[in-house]
């Protein structure tokens, strides 16, 4: 019975299943907003806490979760869940208020109060509590110190600090120039651009979901799934050689995972036409990769234009692609900036699913100049 449960959890923690479940779960929670209630939060946290505590009896789970530098990850899991729930919960309560001719809570409480004592005392309390937490944590748990540095002996797995493991996880799907350089830059630029892209004047200064659905769905998908989930799974579920291991699995250094990844050029030339890849020189390389180049170009440069068309121009079944109303509302510059950043963000899950479905390695591959997408 327990073994069956463990097998189930191990299976459900696999990158494919976990990512899909988490994404669908999040989307469902946006659709059925009743789930952000106090009751479901309590149930959820009790289940999570029981699962966590009970799992401590499993030696493999304990080994990885109790590693001193992994303690923050447990913190991330519980805190991020809690605060996401708290923000959404308040937003949905406010939405109910405004639907029922009542003002949002933050507007009801607009009178001015003295900062001393109301705020100063809260801050003091926060400082005291935090100091106690830090002191207790520091007394109970020694900071880790491993063997002295030895440049000749690289540990397996070699992991970056936990907050960068989302980026390291991206290395599975993208080359370092994208995962380690371009995407981090885009994340920073994209975050900074948010206030200039988002022209929705509503929901400024109070919690709400209804008035800012698109913004919140996109941001939380990025923050919860593409960042936090990848950090957590990169820490707990990636073992030697960056292979996947379920939470109850032993990190076996000798496990070999067959890598049979193929490029789009292989699909086109070898599988479809049954010919060898074109070789020799610059133009042969261009010819080899033409389909991939076309796909990336279409995704980045044609799709945004197409998405700006009005609904009527789309055939039935594809009408959801139309972002015409955003184009109208935001103007061309903001629209193209926003959509481009969004598509860049979505390229990660797209590449993930392409890998899982077709073992796709590169869409465009110029290994000669380290330019692989």
């Amino acid at each position: 019975m327990i073994d069956l449960f463990k097998d189930l959890v191990n299976w459900a923690s696999g990158p494919t299943v976990l990512f899909t479940i988490a994404t669908l779960g999040l989307l469902a929670a946006f659709r059925f907003t009743q789930v952000w209630s106090k009751t479901s939060a309590k149930v959820f946290f009790v289940v999570l806490a029981v699962f966590y505590t009970a799992s401590m009896w499993d030696p493999d789970f304990f080994l990885i979760v109790a590693k001193p530098d992994n303690i923050p990850i447990t913190g991330v899991i519980f805190l991020v869940f809690f605060f996401t729930w708290y923000a959404m919960h308040q937003g949905i309560q406010n939405d109910r208020r405004s639907a029922g001719e009542e003002e949002v809570l933050e507007r009801q409480e607009s009178e001015k109060v003295w900062v001393w004592p109301d705020l100063v005392y809260t801050e003091m309390l926060a400082m005291v509590i935090l100091s106690i937490v830090l002191l207790v944590w520091s007394i109970l748990l020694a900071a880790p110190l491993e063997q002295p540095a030895n440049p000749a002996d690289s540990p397996n797995p070699s992991k970056a600090p936990w907050y960068f493991l989302g980026l390291q996880e991206m290395l599975v799907y993208f080359d370092p120039w994208l995962a380690g350089v371009v995407f981090p830059t885009l994340i920073i630029v994209g975050l900074m651009a948010i206030p200039y892209i988002d022209t929705n004047p509503k929901g400024n200064g109070y919690f709400t979901f209804k008035e800012r659905k698109a913004e919140i769905v996109i941001f939380l998908f990025g923050f919860l799934i593409l960042w936090c989930l990848l950090v957590v799974s990169g820490t707990f579920l990636r073992g030697p050689n960056w292979n996947f291991f379920g939470p109850y699995e032993y990190w076996d250094v000798h496990r070999v995972e067959p890598l049979l990844n193929v490029n789009v050029s292989d699909f086109f030339w070898v599988k479809l036409l049954g010919r060898p890849l074109p070789t020799g020189g610059f133009f042969a390389a261009l010819m080899r990769e033409w389909l991939g180049i076309l796909m990336v170009g279409a995704y980045l440069f044609v799709l945004p234009v197409v998405m700006s068309w009005p609904r009527e121009r789309f055939p039935t079944g594809l009408k959801w692609l139309s972002c015409h109303h955003y184009f109208e509302k935001m103007g061309a510059t903001r629209y193209y900036l926003g959509v481009s950043l969004f598509l860049m963000m979505m390229s990660l899950p797209i590449k993930m699913y392409l890998r899982w479905a077709f073992n796709l390695k590169y869409i465009v591959a110029f290994p000669e100049i380290f330019f692989n997408i």
């Binding site: 530098d69 303690i71 923050p72 913190g75 991330v76 805190l79 605060f83 959404m88 308040q90 949002v104 809570l105 933050e106 507007r107 009801q108 409480e109 607009s110 009178e111 109060v113 900062v115 001393w116 004592p117 109301d118 705020l119 100063v120 809260t122 801050e123 926060a126 830090l134 520091s138 020694a142 900071a143 110190l145 491993e146 063997q147 002295p148 540095a149 440049p151 002996d153 690289s154 070699s158 907050y163 980026l167 080359d175 370092p176 120039w177 995962a179 380690g180 350089v181 900074m192 206030p195 988002d198 509503k202 929901g203 400024n204 200064g205 109070y206 919690f207 800012r212 919140i216 380290f370």
Partner: protein, 266 residues
């Protein structure tokens, strides 16, 4: 009975607060009257980061989660504990590891390293949560766009502070985490040896980008993680990055006030 203990205490308290020393430090009475509540906020350099009065919703824990404040407090804790660590730590390949061992084993009440390390982990999490709160209340919208941008830079600085500090214990965990992290720099387009298009930067037959001058070299100060890296990261961690972060925090707090205080419905 209780009175017998409390009466002299409160007499002593009154004595102390009436003394010349006390009144020279705190130039006003207790903050029980509105006048004094205003004075206490304005005459204290630390408290004057706050306004005298504020919208009720904006100072509620439920609204801000005090997350920005907690992040700032953690920054102060890290500055203080970090200063103490600097008394013992020497950033050389020869001594670094041994100094850390000494710190944990021979320094009385030695939990400074723990406070510093766990505090740093906590700060990374609280910055994320602060950003989440600011996003979910839509507080980046006009007029606070610029302060959100400052915030993003602070987020990056927090991560970089943590990253540079990770190397300093000079153990296996440290150098390999930094090795993995900095290997990415090798792939910088144009500027890394294994980056796209870098090979096209040539002068005649000589390629301009090599392992001795590319982006990774600039980060590490060497071809692999070594003494120059340790020194570089130490200086950045203890001086460079904290200075920039402190400077930007000042701007951040100033702008919170100048953008109309904590956000609220217009």
């Amino acid at each position: 009975m209780l009175n017998r203990i409390l009466a002299p205490l409160s007499a002593a308290w009154k004595e102390a607060t009436d003394s010349q020393v006390w009144t020279s430090i705190f130039r006003h009475g207790k903050p029980v009257s509105n006048r004094n509540r205003a004075l206490v906020m304005m005459s204290n350099v630390f408290l004057h980061l706050h306004p005298v009065k504020s919208r009720k919703a904006g100072i509620k824990l439920r609204y801000t989660w005090c997350m920005g404040g907690i992040t700032f407090f953690l920054f102060l804790v890290l500055t203080f504990t970090g200063l103490l660590l600097m008394f013992y730590y020497r950033p050389t390949v020869e001594y670094a590891y041994a100094d850390i061992v000494d710190l944990q084993e021979h320094v009385p009440l030695g939990i400074m390293r723990e406070l510093h390390r766990w505090g740093a982990h906590a700060m990374v999490i609280t910055v994320w949560l602060h950003m989440l709160r600011v996003f979910m209340t839509g507080s980046y919208k006009p007029p606070r766009e610029f302060n959100w941008g400052i915030g993003v830079v602070l987020l990056v600085l927090t991560l970089l502070l943590s990253f540079t500090g990770y190397l300093l214990p000079w153990d296996q965990l440290a150098i390999w985490a930094i090795a993995v992290g900095s290997n990415m720099a090798r792939a910088t387009p144009l500027l890394g040896t294994e980056g796209p298009l870098s090979a096209s930067l040539t002068l005649g037959d000589i390629s301009l980008i090599n392992a001795g001058n590319d982006a990774r070299f600039a980060l590490l100060g060497a071809r692999s993680v070594g003494q120059p890296t340790l020194l570089r990261f130490y200086v950045l961690h203890c001086v460079g990055l904290p200075l920039v972060a402190a400077f930007l925090m000042a701007v951040h707090f100033w702008r919170v006030r100048k953008d109309g205080g904590i956000s609220g419905p217009m």
